[in-house]
Amino acid sequence: MKVMVSVKRVVDFTVKVRVKADGTGVDTANVKMSMNPFDEIAVEEAVRFKERGIATEIVVVSCGPPQCQETLRAAMAIGADRGVLVETCGELEPLAVAKLLKALFDKEQPRLVILGKQAIDDDCNQTGQMLAALATLPQATFASKVEMADGFALVTREVDGGSETLKVRLPAIITTDLRLNEPRYPSLPNIMKAKKKPLEILKAADLGVDVAPRLKILKVSEPPQRRNGVKVPDVASLIAKLKNEAKVI
């Protein structure tokens, strides 16, 4: 079974994100970048399928600037077999990524596509679902457990009241939640071996996809600073403050 995993290059989770002075976006110049943590879980899950003999080949794909090669190499260090980069410049919206992934799905014909449920930079949580719709494939989102059974995937997902298990026919789209697995650290020898794995570079135009943004960003600003709380002497003054100052009751 061939598995396709998509990975996104995002600002590292340890970086204190700063908004650009002109309010057009987040400052990514000279900022440490790494693989979206949810995507890392997706790669790990695919590698575990391969180790259990369920997957035969793992293709890892990414859309974005040339630096995404590093992200693909990181995925190959964890255990993906080869990489495909769709090189683009400028902002990529979830719909554009979903269309590119649809084109790659048609080209690669995998039995399973695993994506992170969202990226930690824009928190959109849309790409997997859009891809499923574009490719008219079953989707199972926010997976916390995935099992394979004869042409189907059994996907456990957390819902408000507990957990539910979906049975989806393959090929299918799965997006990962945090609890699915704990990704391994690539070992030094595997990091070096990943450099020799094949990495194919395509352009969006090669796939016939128009990636121009459909949305216009008006302004990006820092969240308001949280103000210090105050202590009130008794319930009466709390209610008075809620009524007169906060105006919530």
């Binding site: 090669q69 260090a77 391994r184 070992s187 030094l188 070096m192 450099k195 990495l199 194919e200």
Partner: protein, 405 residues
């Protein structure tokens, strides 16, 4: 369709990476080791410092992730890279847990890499896989109560041949990893009257009869990295555990010391990088007179100095490591590499002292508190001005090489 396979164009690194002279591969090794250390080793550091606690599982985890035996071929369980890569891993580990990093380098460089460089094939096969996996902990024993700077001349531990064994008697002091080591590289005098030319090296296993740990020592810094006095009381070591030839231990020591000096400078670099980061964070958030203290010129001047110090350490450390990278087996202990490696660690240890002094000053009262991370880093000064040859010994080495006729 533009279609290139593994010959995909290399993405150029940042200006800082080019300044440091790191290749993309090297930068990635540093970043990956940093990520591992931040997540897995940093959470251990406070308890290690508070209780002199040794995290039993840490070496196994490090080994599993492939961070032991970095310059050793894969056939022995290593990563098949080089000494430079090993130094980068040490730098990253030292940022997040310098005590464990010290234990790591005693194991990786003093024991494991020394065995790889100086042992015969049978000994390599017997010891390297266990050390590379982290299942066995390694140490090296050179110094004694009466033999510090004059480690070779004043050495009193003896090894006497008895049939197919050597019998070791004496003691070794300030031995990193001593209390937890399974495999130890030990120097002893096989001929007491021949001075440095009468020293031999042995591989001692902790279960050999007559070997014991006398006491664990409590240190001011690098706490949790276990340090001990070791005692050899008629300790019987199989003759098959003699390293190289009898009486030829001095070359193992001297060559090993050059590599050790090149390899401990990254500890100073890693600690200093973290101290600078902590000081910057603190100065940005600490407000006095209605503004962050980072807005005051006197604090800013400190940052400019600290930046220059850290970057100078980086270049000196990396260049010395590159020079030591290709040191031939049995090489060193004299000549340019001897001078360069001594200079590297002398400069790094001295400069780290300056960086930490300012980092604590910027933290003010909060930096004087034992639990503060910057305080833990501050207490790491001095060790690297003393261990692997004191600053004074390093100066003798450097000037001797400069003035050699």
């Amino acid at each position: 369709v533009s279609n290139s396979l593994s010959s995909a164009p290399v993405v150029p690194g940042s200006a800082a990476q080019r300044f440091a002279g790191l290749s993309n591969d090297e930068q990635e090794i540093l970043d990956q080791a940093d990520r591992f250390a931040r997540r897995e080793l940093f959470p251990l550091s406070q308890r290690m410092d508070d209780e002199e606690w040794w995290p039993e599982d840490a070496f196994g985890k490090i080994g599993e992730t492939g961070y032991f035996g970095i310059p050793v071929p894969e056939a022995y369980g290593g990563a098949g890279l080089d000494l430079f890569a090993s130094g980068l891993v040490l730098q990253a580990f030292s940022r997040w847990n310098h005590a464990l990093a010290l234990s790591w380098v005693a194991h990786e460089n003093l024991c494991l890499y020394n065995i790889y460089r100086n042992c015969n094939e049978e000994q390599r096969r017997r010891y390297l896989p266990g050390l590379c996996s982290g299942k066995a902990v390694g140490a090296l024993g050179l110094t004694e109560a009466g033999a510090g700077s004059d480690a070779l001349g004043s050495m009193r531990t003896t090894a006497t041949r008895d049939g197919d064994h050597y019998v070791l008697n004496g003691s070794k002091l300030y031995i990193t990893n001593g209390p937890v080591a399974d495999v130890l590289l030990i120097y002893a005098k096989t001929h007491r009257d021949k001075g440095a030319q009468g020293i031999s090296a042995f591989i001692v296993e902790k279960q050999f009869p007559g070997f014991k740990v006398a006491q664990k020592l409590t240190k001011m810094g690098f706490r949790g990295s276990q340090t001990a006095e070791l005692v050899f009381d008629n300790c019987r070591v199989p003759a098959a555990n003699l390293v190289g030839q009898e009486d030829r231990g001095v070359q193992v020591v001297m060559s090993g010391l050059d590599l050790e000096r090149a390899m401990i400078a990254p500890i100073c670099l890693g600690i200093s990088e973290r101290a600078l980061e902590l000081a910057l964070d603190y100065a940005r958030t600490r407000r006095q007179f209605g503004k962050p203290i980072a807005d005051f010129q006197m604090i800013r001047a400190k940052f400019a100095d600290m930046y220059v110090w850290v970057e100078s350490m980086r270049l000196f450390t990396y260049q010395a490591l590159r020079a030591a990278n290709d040191l031939e087996i049995g090489g060193g202990g004299r000549g340019e590499i001897h001078k360069i490696t001594a200079a590297s660690v002398m400069f790094a240890a001295d400069t780290m002292n300056k960086v930490l002094n300012e980092a604590v000053q910027i933290h003010g009262g909060s930096g004087y508190i034992w639990e503060a991370e910057v305080n833990r880093l501050f207490r790491a000064i001095k060790l690297l001005e003393i261990g692997a040859g004191t600053t004074e010994i390093r100066k003798i080495i450097i000037s001797d090489e400069m003035l050699r006729a």
